[in-house]
Amino acid sequence: MMSFRSGNRTDALRYNAIAYTLLTITAIVLMFPLIFSLSLALQGETVAPTLLPTDWSNLDWHVFSTVFERQPIMLRWILNSFVVSITVTLGVLVTSSLLAFALSYLDFPGKGLLLFFTLGTLMVPFEATLIPNYLFVARLGWRDTYQGLIVPFLASGFGVFLLRQYFLTLPRELYDAALVDGCTRLRYLWLILVPLSRPALATLAVYTFLGTWNQFYWPLLITNSTEWRTTQVGITIFRDFELGVFNIQMAATLIVMLPTLILLVLGQRQLVRGLTAGALKG
């Protein structure tokens, strides 16, 4: 961690200058693909887009409205993605906290096996499960339904692993003391562990939401009708097969990216509050 407290004002100024320079350069490098895609979207139906628009006075801003004009059902796709992503996120937070709690605070035979079982789900490649899951969900009659899009993802080995690793960094004395004080385990989980773990939970929430929002093959398989598509599947309709005219496709990509970027801004705030609230002083 950078430390400048001991320095005088010149040191502080120099520190600021160096920090801002480094921060800004890296930020520009990291933002580049996004800036580039915005630039492509605005350059009109050209076959030879350039890095940055050559004619700044003639940017094609209504490309974004064109996307909605061509596919008014896009709004429904966005709604679907929201319902699915939010439900899956809430579900994963609950199921992961519970299992991670068991794995980090309880002492029982077969604990290693349970952890192994959880981590194992991360290693099963999706090719191995996609078709059997499709057949199973189809047999339940869940094609073209929210439950078909949601239920298979309500638990996440990744989420359990993330929370367990985080719970383990928290002082165990707290748990022992709480139990001595007559606090039940669920109350401890809900009243102490969850608030303390807000950064990890926020991270998991953001990550799960984005991961679900960005799914492709599952929604493609399990939805048959246009109105049940999610955004990532829906926008493939803008791909031009014959010729690379990218503006509409890029505009559609940016539109479906927008909710996730906004979520990120909001999620970041939540994350920072959790981080800066001194949650770990207890």
Binding site: P152, V206, L275
Partner: protein
Amino acid sequence: MTTDDRTGLPLASGTRREPETKSTTTWLAALMTWVQKPRIQDLFRALLYASPALVIFILFTYVPFIRSIWLSLHITNIQGDPAKWNGIDYYLRILALDGSGRTEYLTSIGMSFQYALMVVPLGIIIGLGLAMLATAKVRGIQVYRTIYTSSIAISLASAGVIWALIYNPSTGTLNWLVDLLQLDSPSLLTSNRTSMAAVAVMSIWSGLGFNFIITLAGIQAIPQDLYESAAIDGAGGWHAFRFITLPLLGPTLLFLVVINTIGSLQAFTQFHLLTQGQSPNVFVYETFKSFWYENRYGFASAMSLVLFAILLILTIIQYRGLNNRVHYQ
């Protein structure tokens, strides 16, 4: 099985086993005693807490997984059902033990490792560097943090489309680099020397937001007083990083190593979108191809089980190797 409290892994020598209770007279009493043991009580609690997740895991991961083991021993028909017993022929074919001398799958496993070796360390180191940078105490740091995190908001599919255009010679974005490296092809993606690196760069960018935010959360979780007392002792900067930050980030970094390794060995979207699975030709793409284009579910199942075995062994090695050096507070 006896386990270490903190890691959950089996202890080398089980020491906590209760001595056999011989004094009990009835079977029921023995059971009651057993049930009342704290560890057994915890077992029931654990199963209760675990049940929602376990049901999902079993239904949607393990049942299909077991089915895929069964399928991997068969040639499957157009409906994806077993049509003919095939034994372990698929495995022999993948591992080039079938005597045909064709090693394309082994080669692609090698490629996968080469790719993971590029992406995992670089991704984590750059994420760590960014996280350190983002702890700078300057105004507006939150804007930078958001920007650094932004790549997790972008799906691999979108990122792949964007990066394909960045590498597209028509946009002229990277022509200077092609000239600088004196490649004999128009794009970094179509030169043998650079195609793997080009895919890796995109993947690192795509994973950076995640690595960054996790590392930052880890750094923020380190109690400030540790740094303050270190500062009093005159240790700052590099020393504080080396002796406080890095060790205390252990669990976080271990987590990232495991997740990134699994992720990069399973990566296929980026290869699909950037090179259509051609050179570099990684194992997961071969799996996807036999699954999605060839509809050979049996063969694809065998390949995904080979991948599963590789990931399993790697994770155990990483866990064992790194866990010894990781400090849980």
